[in-house]
């Protein structure tokens, strides 16, 4: 298509659009409805729930420490596992009383802090296990509200988060930056320990 023809089409479209805009009509008092509200709810749920956000960040940090290939594996397997766990959670009835998520804090935190080199397949299994577990709790939590669309929002947010964080860690060159990441991992592990400690003292 030639540029002149495109200009004519654009011109006609604009005339039609602005013609419609200035047609007298009652303005309904509502904001745009896109049907994306539950997806946003899911994104908000992840970003405002440290119990989920911190382990997700930790998995991304660990994937980045391990390199590009584990980063790619985490990027695709972790959000998908979270979604799968979420759908299982949507079908489940009871919430486990034991703070299972504290163990993902502890486990992934220790792996980061110690900079342990897991084989690629073992890392994939870890990412899937953490994803399914947290997704399961999310599924139970979102059952009464946004449901499956909320889980899609969480998966989308996880994809963006894991991509950017793991790529950032992969791109770090000075040796001291690796130590900073490991220190962050030790804090995550400490949080996990505290959560488990509080549970056994009966305060959680």
């Amino acid at each position: 298509m030639k540029i002149n023809q495109q200009v004519i089409i654009l011109h006609k479209t604009l005339i039609a659009v602005f013609g419609l805009l200035f047609c007298p009509s009652n303005a309904a008092a509502h904001l745009v409805t896109t049907g994306m509200g539950p997806v946003y709810d899911g994104i908000g749920h992840l970003l405002l729930t440290p119990e989920d956000l911190v382990p997700a960040l930790a998995v991304a940090l660990y994937a980045g420490l391990r390199g590009r290939a584990p980063g790619r594996r985490a990027l695709f397997f972790f959000p998908l596992a979270w979604l799968l766990g979420g759908f299982i959670g949507l079908a489940a009835d009871a919430m486990p009383t034991f703070p299972v998520s504290a163990f993902s804090f502890l486990l992934v935190g220790i792996l980061i802090a110690a900079d342990l080199r897991l084989p690629d397949n073992a890392f994939t299994v870890l990412a899937i296990a953490v994803g399914i577990m947290h997704g399961f709790f999310n599924g139970i939590a979102l059952k009464a509200g946004p449901g499956g669309l909320g889980l899609l929002g969480i998966m989308f947010a996880l994809f963006v988060l894991v991509a950017i964080v793991s790529a950032f860690v992969v791109s770090l060159k000075p040796p001291w930056t690796r130590i900073v990441v490991r220190v962050a991992g030790s804090w995550v592990a400490a949080m996990g320990l505290l959560m488990i400690g509080w549970f056994f003292r009966g305060q959680v």
Partner: protein
Amino acid sequence: MQRIAIIITLLFSAVFIGTVSGHESQPGSLEIKQLGPDRYDITWRAPIYYGKPHPAQLMLPDDWQTIGRPTERRRTDSIIFHRVVATGGKSIEGKIIRFPGLESTITDVFIRLTRLDDSVMSTVARPTKPWAELRGERPWHVTAGEYLGLGFHHILMGVDHLLFVLGLLLIVQGRMMLLKTITSFTVAHSITLAIATLGYAHAPLPPLNAAIALSILFLGPEVVRARRGETSLTIKFPWLVAFVFGLLHGFGFASGLSTTGMLKAELPWALLWFNVGVELGQLVFVFLALGLVWAFRTLEIRWPRWAQALPGYTVGSLGAYWTIQRTVILLGGF
């Protein structure tokens, strides 16, 4: 490739069709009108939330006494609670109105107090701050922060605006062109936002929403063309299309600002800070999208051909879906 577009459109239709009338981002409102020295008329409009009554409740100060019987009226999109209260001769300055339950939602509540002398005070309660303080005058930074947050929130919650920006990002090649295009979109929507907010022009919402959807649909084929290495007016001059359609999106932003029922005296400030909030939200989104591209490059991800085509087809298909949906709404089909 056309099949991909059809499949995506059908998929979105299937996933979102149940939520078409959900009004998920519809705000609540509280109107307080002074009737006498210590009498106030209270109207609390609680939007329907996921098909159920809104979880947020209205909690008035303890020393306010309800006079007569409160009423409750159900509408298709909300429940209107109405009552008259007496404040026992006390001033309402500094009183706190609470909305327990709001924190678990994504709803904002706009509060408007009209006094006997016709002076108006407005404020917003949010899920992160589910209460509002009634004050006649507020420091400028409080007002600025409120409108800045509103603008930021409006663009990031407006997935149609974001999808248009994403479409532009997928077409644009080179940093300078990106800068030109984003600046052009910003200038254009700032112009119509100001014009609409200051009352010089008015765009009715139903056709406006359909036109915004059309702008997204327009970009879909252009993204696919750009990926194939073809050229067009949009691909050569994306800043021009950004400017033209940016004018439309500005009217859309104005609808977000007009729902607040702002004070006339606050209008210039409201407009300025709302626009700053919109620009900040837009920048966050642009940097996030660029960050994602950088991350894919750093992680050396090789996307298959069909996956490379997916963003363009998603933009076009969603644009098509919303255009049809909003045109049907415009014609009174919903």
